[in-house]
Amino acid sequence: MCTTQPVSARQPDLSESSLIPVLDEIIDSYCGTRGALIPVLQSVQNLLGFLPAPALQYVSRELNIPYSEVAGVVTFYSFFSTVPRGTYLVRVCLGTACYVRGGKEVLEALTKELGIRVGETSEDRLFSLEIGRCFGACGLAPVVMVNNTVHQRVKPAKIHELIEQYRSEGMQEREVQ
């Protein structure tokens, strides 16, 4: 489940000098215990919008947990992201029902339309593409979620139209800001 709302396209300050005091505060608030790893990662992601490598390395060092283990946790839970996410997180279901009913073709169409692969974010930072395993809407397969909106019975041919809507909405909002 994606619990974090994608942050806006603002680039957080990731230089070490600005990261360290923030990370220290988070780590201290969990008393630096081993069980603190997941809550610490959540706090860091909430703050920065994603988990940049230097932050993860710092957390690994401070909590004295091997980097491979930290990365293991980050890659295990789909709500953690190591790349900045776009305004719209597009998730294609590849659970059994959706897969059988054309989920893969939908994914292909999205890859083409957005010009990015799974796990990537478009250059304009509007879209990130991910896959999911069953969103619990199998009867309406294939399913695509854009942020928290469910799109049902999606057809590859309709992908362009769907994405265009979000694209213009996103551009407009940016202009307003």
Binding site: A53, Q57, R61, I65, P66, Y67, S68, E69, V70, A71, G72, T75, F76, T82, R133
Partner: protein, 594 residues
């Protein structure tokens, strides 16, 4: 004590042990995959299931403790079917090519599939093609062959305290590997190969140097010399189904000659040399501290084990000044072979190939370090593990078991028992104490059979004391001084020892660290499978080899004396400095490029 029944037979077993241990001790066979002796069982693979009367489901025997009156069956249809399903599922995700796989002869997965009578794989899965990771000098990772038993992860984190590899991603996409499944060379891996030693399949193996060695042997313009580490002679026999702990020194020499090496030498020779150089270095440090009252880095740590050096560079850069500047015996050998020996026999160093046979994968990494070319060339060209040498002997069709005994060549074939014991945890320290005590007092180390018992055996951290009395003229400043020494094997123990010293300030003068549990005899390149029982058998064999030698103290090695007279002149002298010593610098944990 508990009374349990296994397959209808009543068995008495110790309280608190698992079904697996109780069954194995009573002589019953239960297959395992993820279980790893000496570590906390994870119960991940379920290859070890058994039926427990009254329990609704099958129990994973590796992590189920026995209870009094438990009735266990290890061999029912239900058990066999369940185990078969486990293995069938593993095989369905496995990129099998057993005919060409390095593990063809000792693969636990293959053996288990055969023992369970699996003849076809009922699940059809299309597996994504996996990239083989060959980014490091010593180890190749083939995730397509990984059955995700996580033994490698356990050994790397719990035994070695490195944590270079762990489970990444989830479900079907799980990879047991470095952070974010990146290449091994991008993370702090010390190349010890303990992961490769415990892997049940061909998913982690050493990078092979076999072809390079054949090419050199087949090249008439090359003068190819080989050195064999002390630990090989007590383990090579296992490649030919001999009992662990069978000494095969003489047969090994014969086999190397048959393979076509131009000269067969012994790393033992440079182990003796290491004792002279490193012992002198220690005495020099002690003199600076005690007589000149200078700030010197003490305790001195040994430097023979390249995995340990890499570990210190990453995780304890603060103790690098304490690490002896001596190169490892393998590297001392390479540097002398391409200088002293090349001159002596009139061969140009560029026409010489130096091959090592090592119990260790990290030696493959070590020989490629930039520091290791003081002869003007890469001092050691190829490193074969014990397993690789076994493979080459088989490839050449040599009937190893029936080979006659042969002896090593002069000048680098002469060695003392002190060099043999470099293979065992505690051995380098014992060898050093034998020589240092003799130099300082003019008398033999006052220990039965010259063995320092408290430093021997598989205890993780060991220590001992020696007080110098009736010292000779040169070393009078050590009169009445008690030298305190410690030994750690397995990097987890080494890191615990370092932390202990840093926290308590306990005083030690000299510390031996060996990367692998048990020392080199338990190295990552030794024949599989190395259990504690196997370690003990190899350790005993090595002590036997030592006790059978004419000389058992490094400074008594006549070839070493000659080497100093003809070439090196004096310990820590100019030539030594140039060829036999080096230094190391700390490494960043996270900023390495491939």
């Amino acid at each position: 004590m508990c009374n349990i029944t296994i397959n209808g037979i009543e068995v008495e077993a110790r309280d608190g042990i698992t079904i697996l241990t109780a069954a194995r001790e009573a002589g019953f066979t239960i297959p395992t995959l993820c279980f790893l002796e000496g570590t906390i069982p994870q119960g991940a693979c379920r290859a070890c299931v058994v039926e427990v009367e009254g329990a609704p489901s099958l129990a994973a025997s590796c992590c189920t403790p026995i209870r009094n009156d438990m009735v266990i069956r290890t061999n029912t249809k239900r058990v066999r079917d369940a185990r078969r399903t486990v293995v069938e599922l593993l095989l369905s995700e496995h990129e099998g090519d057993c005919q060409t796989c390095v593990r063809g002869s000792d693969c636990e997965l293959l053996l288990l599939a055969r023992n369970l009578g699996i003849r076809e794989i009922p699940f059809n899965t299309v597996n994504p093609v996996q990239q083989i990771d060959r980014s490091t000098p010593a180890l190749a990772r083939d995730p397509g062959k990984c059955i995700k038993c996580r033994r490698c992860e356990t050994v790397c984190a719990e035994v070695q305290h490195v944590g270079a590899i762990s489970a990444q991603y989830r479900g079907y996409d799980t990879v047991i590997g470095p952070a974010f499944a990146s290449p091994l060379a991008t993370v702090a891996c010390v190349q010890c190969g303990q992961c490769a030693a415990v892997c049940p399949t061909g998913a982690i193996t050493e990078i092979s140097h076999v072809q390079g060695v054949w090419n050199a042997l087949d090249d008439p313009k090359k003068h190819v010399v080989v050195q064999t580490a002390p630990a090989i002679r007590a383990a090579l026999g296992e490649c030919f189904s001999l009992e662990p702990g069978t000494l095969v020194t003489g047969k090994m020499v014969s086999a190397l000659r048959e393979l076509g090496f131009d000269a067969v030498f012994d790393t033992n020779f440079t182990a003796d040399l290491t004792i002279i150089e490193e012992g002198t270095e220690l005495l020099t440090r002690l003199k600076s501290a005690l007589v000149d009252k200078k700030e010197v880095a003490l305790p001195q740590y040994t430097s023979c084990s390249p995995g340990w050096i890499k570990y210190a560079e990453y995780f304890h850069p603060e103790i690098l000044p304490n690490i002896s500047t001596c190169k490892s015996p393998q590297q001392m050998f390479g540097a002398l072979a391409k200088t002293y020996y090349a001159q002596k026999i009139g061969v140009k160093p560029e026409a010489m190939t130096v091959v090592s046979v090592m119990p260790c994968t990290a030696k493959k990494f070590e020989c490629q370090r930039p520091e290791m070319d003081d002869s003007g060339y890469q001092d050691v060209d190829y490193v074969l593990t014990t397993r690789e040498l076994g493979d080459m002997i088989k490839m050449a069709g040599i009937d190893f078991i029936n080979l006659p005994d042969d002896t090593m060549d002069a000048p680098f074939g002469t060695s003392t028992g002190a060099a043999d014991i470099f293979a065992n945890t505690g051995g380098v320290m014992e060898a050093a104490l034998r020589t240092v005590h003799a130099l300082v007092t003019g008398r033999n180390l006052p220990a039965e059979d010259l063995h320092v018992r408290p430093l021997a055996g598989l205890e993780g951290i060991k220590s001992a004391e020696v007080t110098f009395t009736d010292t000779v003229e040169n070393w009078r400043f050590l009169e009445g001084v008690t030298a305190r020494v410690a030994v750690a094997h397995g990097l987890g123990n080494a890191s615990d020892l370092i932390t202990h010293i840093q926290e308590t300030g306990e005083v030690f003068h000299f510390i031996e660290v060996m990367t692998c549990p048990g020392g080199c005899i338990g190295g990552g390149g030794q024949p599989r499978f190395t259990t504690d029982e196997v370690r003990e058998a190899r350790i005993a064999a090595i002590y036997k080899e030592d006790e059978g030698k004419t000389y058992r103290q490094s400074h008594l090695n006549p070839a070493i004396t000659e080497m100093y007279e003809q070439f090196l002149k004096e310990p820590l002298g100019e030539t030594s400095h140039h060829l036999l010593h080096t230094g190391y610098t700390g490494k960043e944990l996270f900023t390495q490029e491939v």
